[in-house]
Symmetry: C2
Subunit: 344 residues, 2 copies
């Protein structure tokens, strides 16, 4: 095993103040590592591509330390144990781990989370990185702890067809809300209003905040009660203009300013609007809710198995495809949760 | 009585997109009105001057309807009943009412709140418009419901020597917090650090956000846990840069942009910072907490009588002095709670 090739992608350059380029990553073929005592050798099945990775590529201070230059790019994977030197973990076990952008990783037992395959039923293992994983939990806990949507309220979701947005909108529908989707392509909006049952769709492309706000207001005559903001920027401004009394704004992502890590994001201070509307705006990080993960997995698993929540994935094949797919994700080219199928 | 003169100030012009001028108000001598059946005639003792009045002068939509052009300017007063045609209210009763900028008003019984003079003890009746009234309740409920300061935390107060700020800082001190004051004059800072016991003072004048943030950080090495924002603008930006993990930002006032009612306030979107710090920002309006007013009055009365909270007032004499004093309040010229002594 240790003589086989382990293709992996290293962080070669930090994209500071500019868009990510494929050359920011370097592909190399290393040896498959041998697991040490207490370790397992993991073969990656799927690598998750997520907007947070853009922040890790920068040296700017954030909620997590930056990825190291010259080291394997960070990322979560679902994989299979191919060799175990750790008690309680066996060859063939399905696990989740932050193994990075590579085909194989030797990891200590405490760095992997064993998943009971039976609990998935017929659901694809890739869901563990999406609707049943970090993005799904983000939608679930951000609505539960900040958004608190009530039946009859209007919920606006930006990046509505993305890994988090499609789940957030469907949960809001289950709660009896009217859901307005915002996205940057007609087919994305057709997907969420057609297949997922969202009530209205607004394409933000080529519109300023005032024009966008007018469209939002057209779909939300009483204002937006909950704004699930994955994007920031002009969409944020437009939503703030359309906020209902006691509106709640979940700051979940800032993908529109993903190339401005560490730099100020010039726009509008919405202090007066927050005051007039007695509105709440709060930053959300899913890692703060680890203790409630079992509750989330149980609820979401049930919703998926009963068909009440559906999920779209955008899968590319082979670890070599990761940089281009990641760049596409940052510019909105993906159609659903972005994943790399690293091995079958 | 009805042939005596009632001096009053009318809203003559709306200051849209510019600073308030004295000529925006028109002084006139009307007849003292005769109370109708079910009404009382009120003689104003003190008129409160508050930043919210700037918003009412504008036609822009807000949490309350604008003051009417040509009508008596709106405002809260403490006064004495000089004639009563309403059951349960008697000549000599002390009352609070939104009687406006005038010496006398005839009001329906339900528009006045009778105050038990004995409950004040030796405290001045003007406190009913300040530390025992709307500004004091603002400090009390905004900290209780949004800021939630805990012992050992660092609290930053802008407009720290103002009607709300001086109370907010003292409550935070009672909770065991370290309190940083921000204000625009050395004597204001000397007052709050000297007489009120705040821990540090920062003068914002002539500083940009980065310079101000560096000063805040010098006094708050672990960041700002609670920011009580009465001001907005550059001070807001600097505080956002200095926020601690899970910081809470109370949006209580926007006096720095008081001349920009209805216009966007250009600055920085702090979405990424809210996300990274998992921070909360929420607009506060004291009117939402009317049900808990008795609790507040009891607690604050006790603190005042025992000397644990002190309060500074800035009083001008005669209703004619109101416009100039109000303009001074908007530019920070006041030293403590701004009041007009209308009658002795």
């Amino acid at each position: 095993m240790t003589t086989a090739s382990n293709k992996r992608l290293l962080l070669a350059e930090r994209p500071e103040g500019r868009a990510v380029k494929e050359s920011d990553f370097r592909l190399e073929a290393a040896l498959v590592p041998a697991p040490g005592e207490g370790q397992v050798l993991l073969r990656t099945l799927f690598l998750s591509l997520d907007p947070y990775m853009r922040g890790r590529m920068s040296a700017a201070r954030s909620y997590a330390p930056p990825a190291e230059l010259g080291a394997v790019m960070v990322g979560e994977v679902v994989g299979e144990i191919v060799e175990s030197r750790a008690p309680g973990l066996s060859r063939g076990d399905l696990v989740l781990a932050y193994a990075g952008w590579q085909e194989y990783a030797a990891l200590p037992a405490k760095a992997v989370e064993r998943i009971d395959r039976a609990s998935l039923g017929d659901l694809p293992v890739s869901y563990l990185l999406g609707v049943l994983g970090m993005p799904g939990a983000t939608a679930y806990f951000a609505l539960d702890t900040i958004g608190k949507p009530k039946s009859g309220e209007t919920v606006l979701i930006s990046a509505a067809a993305g890994a988090v947005g499609q789940v957030a909108g469907q949960i809001a529908k289950l709660k009896g809300c009217r859901v307005i989707a915002c996205a940057g392509a007609a087919d994305k909006l057709a997907f969420v209003t057609g297949e997922l049952g969202f009530d209205a769709g607004v394409d933000y492309k080529g519109k300023d905040a005032a024009a966008l706000a007018a469209e939002f207001a057209g779909h939300a005559p009483n204002g937006i009660d909950v704004f699930f903001d994955n994007v920031g920027g002009v969409t944020h401004d437009a939503a703030m203009m359309t906020l209902a009394l006691r509106g709640r704004v979940i700051i979940c992502g800032v993908i529109s300013s993903s190339d401005r890590v560490g730099q100020p994001d010039t726009g509008t201070r919405w202090n007066r609007q927050l005051l007039v509307k007695r509105a709440l705006m709060q930053g959300f990080l899913v890692g703060d809710h680890r203790a409630r993960w079992p509750e989330f997995r149980a609820a979401m698993g049930e919703w998926l198995k009963s068909g009440r929540i559906r999920y779209r994935e955008d899968i590319v094949d082979g670890i070599e495809a990761a940089p281009r797919a990641f760049i596409g994700l940052l510019s909105g080219a993906n159609r659903g949760k972005a994943l790399v199928r690293v091995a079958r």
